[in-house]
Structure formats: structure tokens, C-alpha cells
Symmetry: C2
């Protein structure tokens, strides 16, 4: 499996930077296919054949294509078990890993969107996640187990959550509780953070100058 | 692993009916812990300790607890590989499985909610999924590969998608295109459909009479 090349379809300073960060954390080989969103390269037919939603990230591994951040994190984690970053199916942490990988997209993204847009739900049960407040409380409750999202071990879940909470906090879309602030800070201090910042800065400068 | 009991926290005629359907499709042993939503049993402390969001479904397997429909489908699929319903990590279908399991919660649920609530986004890129129309088009495009969600094989992805598209179509939240209508019909014709309908009818009657 691992001899097939991995390509990340990426645009600097977007959600795919989180997947780039995960690849850097894992220390596995990959190639970048960089898209210039300002030129609409993510909406052109060749990319829509990769991801019909016209979104980054997407990952190509040989013939296989994976999109959705949580799916990519899990796919990479299972592909490279030796990194130790992905609890295996027989690991007691596997249940938590799956639960929280799905929770991010199922609950946090839509709850934050609703809150940010000022959309009012007639009743809390209208949304599958309930409310923004319940969603944030669940996240803070989980982070209290720290230092990492699933507890003691840094895992692929941190690839998704570390990047997400970093931008949500930066844009004021999630409250900077002590648990969230400390987690985001710990995530920023890891060596891979600087590597990804440098890659993205270079790519963004290149696109700007193009 | 498989000697530990599996308990589904369930309320009849809710999203957890989809997980019940998956368990019936898999033919694996399970117990039901039935919650009466009218009595608010899903918001009581003992259940909030299982799922802080106060939602069904949740699954307990020994000490492990899984919530989020996609996570439960994947957890069960990996736990019972002999059912043949879950493409393994070395199967070319694994990428599609992960991608589409996440896609449901990442895109369909929030896009449908936005549409149903009549919430207007100032620009399509505000939501991670883009637009309701793009989301539906991606689903219809995938279903064209049929007869099942990932193509030839019935998989745990159908546990999530079959149940979801059934209720979305029933409530007019997704257009009944030929692809969607035919898929929902095929799903309804499987023997497990009748078993789940009978279980839910009995549970609902019991709760009503309680």
C-alpha cells in the first residue's frame, strides 16, 4: 500500500493547511498539488473530477481519492500505523478517535456556522447537534482530559482539532476558554507548526506574485 | 473484542433507527437501551454521561462508547469484519467508504438544515459544504454508480445513507430524483427493513401506553 504516492490537493492558509500539518506531524512522504483559489482553480473540471464539491483538502493515494478532513486523517492514520498516531481498531482509544473525528464535522462546523451567520433555530432540536452552547461545552469537557484531544497521546485527531480550534479561536468563532487557549498554544509550539507556516507563506507569496 | 456486549442507546423512529437497521443488517448480537424522549430521558444525567450532547444513537461496547452515526457505522464494521459489510483498510473501497461516511454529516445534514430553515448565506463559501445544490448533486452523482452507495457492494455506508435518504425524501428535504427514489426503494425492500419497523412500532406503542 505504502509504495503508492500520496498527493495532497492544497491551497495555502485554508482548511487543507490542517491536513498539511497532519502530514508533517506524521513525517510521511507526500507531494503537494497547489491550487490557486483566486484563479478559481478549485472549480475547474480537472479538479472537480477529484472532488465534485470543489473544495480542499483532497488526498490522492494511488487510484484512491479521499476528501473530508476527518476521513483523510483516519485514512492516513490507518495507512501508517507505525507513526503511532492512530489508535488501531483493537485499542480502547479507537472509539474516542472515531467519535471525535466525526463530531468535528457533524457538530462544530455547522454549529459555528449557525452562530457566525446569526441564524436562529426555532427550537434546539431542529439541528442534529442541538445548540452551539452544548457543542462548545462538549469540546471543552473533552479538552479537560488533555494535554491532547484524546488525552495523553497526540493522535491524528489532533491534526483535525488542533488546526480547527486554532482558526476558530483566531476568528473569535469559539470562546477562548482556558482549556481551548492552552490546547491551541500547545499545538502551536510543536515543530511541525513552523514547517507548515513556512510552506504556506512561500506558496501564498508565489501565488500573489504570479 | 467481540465477547464484550454491545448496547445501542435508542429511541424509536429517530436517527438511532438507522443504527438499529445497521445492526440488523449485520446480524450481530446487541442489546437495546430504549430512551423515552417525551419524558426527557435523553437529557438526564445518567444518559448525558454516555453522550454529553443528549442525543441518540450512542453505542456502548464494553467500556468503549461511540456516538455520531458515521463513527458507529465504522466502529461496528471494523469490529465485525466477517460480515463483509465494511471494506478493510487494504481494500480499494476504503477511501470511498471513509469519504462518504464523513460527507453525510459534514455536508448533507448542515446543507439540509440550512435549506429547511430558509437560512440565507451571504456567499456560498461561508459554509464548508458550499451549497445545498452542490451537495445534492454530489450525492446523486455517487448514487448513479449504484445499486448501493459505494457501487456493487452493500456496505455499512448504506446503513447511514439508506436510513438518511429515506427520511430526507419522506420529509421532502431532498429531491426525489430517479437515483434517490430507486435507492430508497431498494433499501426498503431488504428484509432488515421490516424487522426494524416492527421493533420500532412495538417500542413506540409501549412508550405511548406507559
Amino acid at each position: 500500500m505504502n509504495d503508492r504516492p500520496i498527493t495532497l490537493f492544497h491551497a495555502p492558509h485554508t482548511r487543507s493547511s490542517g491536513t498539511l500539518r497532519l502530514l508533517e506531524e506524521m513525517g510521511v512522504p507526500y507531494r503537494l498539488h497547489v491550487l490557486d483559489l483566486a484563479k478559481g482553480e478549485h472549480k475547474r473540471p480537472d479538479y472537480l473530477a477529484i472532488n465534485p464539491m470543489g473544495k480542499v483538502p483532497a488526498l490522492r493515494h494511488g487510484e484512491a481519492i479521499v476528501s473530508e478532513q476527518g476521513a483523510i486523517a483516519l485514512y492516513l492514520g490507518d495507512l501508517f500505523p507505525d507513526t503511532g498516531l492512530c489508535p488501531r481498531p483493537d485499542d480502547p482509544l479507537r472509539a474516542d478517535l472515531l467519535r471525535w473525528l466525526f463530531f468535528y464535522g457533524d457538530c462544530v462546523e455547522p454549529a459555528v456556522l449557525q452562530k457566525a451567520m446569526g441564524w436562529e433555530a426555532p427550537k434546539a432540536s431542529a439541528a442534529g447537534y442541538g445548540s452551539y452552547e452544548d457543542t462548545v461545552a462538549a469540546v471543552v469537557g473533552q479538552l479537560a482530559k488533555g494535554p491532547w484531544f484524546l488525552g495523553e497521546r497526540f493522535t491524528v485527531a489532533d491534526g483535525v482539532w488542533g488546526s480547527a480550534l486554532t482558526w476558530l479561536k483566531k476568528f473569535g468563532l469559539i470562546p477562548a476558554t482556558p482549556e481551548i487557549a492552552a490546547y491551541v498554544e500547545r499545538f502551536a509550539e510543536r515543530p511541525a507548526a513552523a514547517r507548515v507556516a513556512a510552506i504556506d507563506a512561500e506558496l501564498a507569496a508565489k501565488q500573489k506574485g504570479a
